[in-house]
């Protein structure tokens, strides 16, 4: 019996299984479908608004007329404060708390999957799905935008028009930046998820945190606190629509989200390594 050697299932197989598992879940399918509706509804709403006098709305909405490629960026900015964190939190909640609730986490550990590796697999699943969801919104947004508003290029907030290549580059950049922000939230959700068996607790706690952060961000008396709040970086992401591209706020926001990811994943790892199942 001393001839037993440590063996692990192939990582690729485990990751594939994880993604398959997430995608098979009805709520994932419903969630992704409703995310696709966001850019369509936003586009239709703006389309009616553009017909009226004056700008279609504040911010990016003002430059949407004849500028369809702005729609994916507009929609992502719209979805970032609430919708995307919710989606990330759901996946993080189902990843650990949901599995614990169904008793399947125990099964995975007996397989065995090392606890750190399990966290890695779960993080991979959430990260990939987040990227997928954000890309999906942007893709549907771009199609909807071009159909409704047309657009050979992209008018920036600064008044210059980017050629199609640069415009697509900006959309990809927005996708990446927004995804990293959602990862930041999802990492914290993952840490909560490692501590409970109730997915709803994870979702509620995460969304409460996002909302509280947003509210704290309103009070100027707390401006010493603002640089620590991940939500404070979200408004600054609109810099992707300025030309030339100002990178400072974007780097800062990404680094901020990176710190949240590091903290969240570390807490989750700490909890998972010491947890009794």
């Amino acid at each position: 019996m001393s001839a037993l050697v440590a063996t692990r299932a192939p990582l690729g197989r485990q990751l594939r299984s994880e993604l398959r598992w997430i995608l098979r879940r009805p709520r994932t399918v419903i969630g992704l479908a409703s995310l696709c509706l966001v850019p369509v509804l936003a586009g239709i709403g703006l389309w009616f608004a553009v017909d009226g006098d004056g700008p279609a709305g504040p911010g990016l909405a003002a430059i949407i007329a004849g500028n369809g490629l702005v729609l994916p960026v507009f929609t992502l900015m719209l979805a970032l404060p609430l919708l995307l964190p919710l989606v990330g939190a759901i996946w993080a909640a189902d990843g650990l708390a949901g599995e614990a609730q169904h008793g399947t986490l125990r099964g995975l550990m007996i397989s065995p999957v090392g606890r750190l590796r399990l966290l890695g697999i779960k993080a991979f699943g959430v990260a990939t799905m987040t990227l997928f969801a954000v890309t999906l919104i942007a893709f549907v947004g771009a199609i909807t935008g071009v159909v409704l508003f047309g657009g050979e290029g992209m008018l920036t907030l600064s008044g210059s028009t980017l050629p199609i290549g640069a415009a697509l580059g900006r959309i990809v950049l927005t996708i990446l930046l927004v995804t990293v922000q959602v990862w930041g939230v999802a990492a914290i959700a993952m840490a909560i998820s490692a501590c409970t068996e109730h997915p709803l607790v994870v979702m509620a706690a995460t969304m409460a945190g996002v909302i509280v952060f947003a509210v704290l961000g309103i009070f100027s008396a707390l401006d010493w606190l603002h640089p620590y709040l991940i939500t404070s970086a979200w408004d600054g992401l609109i810099d992707v629509m300025r030309d030339p591209l100002p990178t400072e706020a974007l780097w800062r926001g990404t680094a901020l989200a990176g710190c949240y990811i590091l903290i969240g994943m570390s807490l989750a790892a700490m909890r998972l390594a010491t947890k009794d199942n």
Partner: protein, 337 residues
Amino acid sequence: MTTSTSARVEPATAGSTPVLAARTRGLRKVYGRTVAVDRVDLDVPRGAVLGMLGPNGSGKTTTIRMLLGLVRPTEGEVELLGKALPDGVAQALPHVGALVEGPGFHPFLSGRENLRRAAAFEPLLATGDIKQAVEDALERVGLAAAAHRRYRGYSLGMKQRLGLASALLVKRKLIVLDEPTNGLDPAGTREVRKVIADLHEAGSTVVVSSHLLSEIEATCTHVAVLHRGTVVAQGELAELLHADSSSLLVVTPDVDEALNALRAGRISARPIEGGVRVELIGTTAPVVVQALVNAGVAVHEARRHRTGLEDLFARLTEAEESEHNLSAVDTIEEGAR
């Protein structure tokens, strides 16, 4: 009473101690201020079917969870397939199949998909073999016909069988089943017994926990009785039953004389209706009968009292703190080593 008909414990290969599939020493687990398990020294001989018997809350599941590295003992050691936990988890656990605290599956996936997911994480399964292994396991627990249905719609028995199937995805050296017949109808129970017997036949070690005595008696070669978080008796089922059956019922009208005679011979006895009950501790039936006859007691009938596991269990768990029982346990444990 199917005691040792199928007992096929592998002979000790190294030294005098039998090779153990699992072993715990001084196991203790404290949750907050509750001591769930204390001083558990469990031996699971290789090839045995060990029944863990105990009322609900006696620490069976906690012990099993520690055995599988799911829970970290507060004190004590666990050795699984010869590897010390927790460091040996990656070596030992691939060879261990388990069904702990009921079956755990995703309600929105079909039985087959659930098993595929579990199989993807099995280190010993080659990727190409997963499909076949899943089908085989489904077949084995009789779920092949319902495999396409969502787990959500399964009956309790089907869920239990699926859990069993996931423990059987790979040929295991050790299989741990926590209350495997929970929720099963008599037919299902029989099937589980058959699966356990097959596993045993194939040389796997099986640990079954149950609060049902009949269950243990029907399937196990070994038994460990847990009570209030500690092992109160363990050993081969046959030995335990034999050790426990070492009382002699003597039917006699002269109860007082009989008691006096036996006390004189330093044999422990107590009166029962229509006679005396003699504990065969440090003595044998012929000696007892001889002593009674010598004292002129009329012995109408003398027979071995075969209690079965139920009595043993009841005595071990109910009439606690009695000197008699404690000494009995000591005897049993000595006999088991």
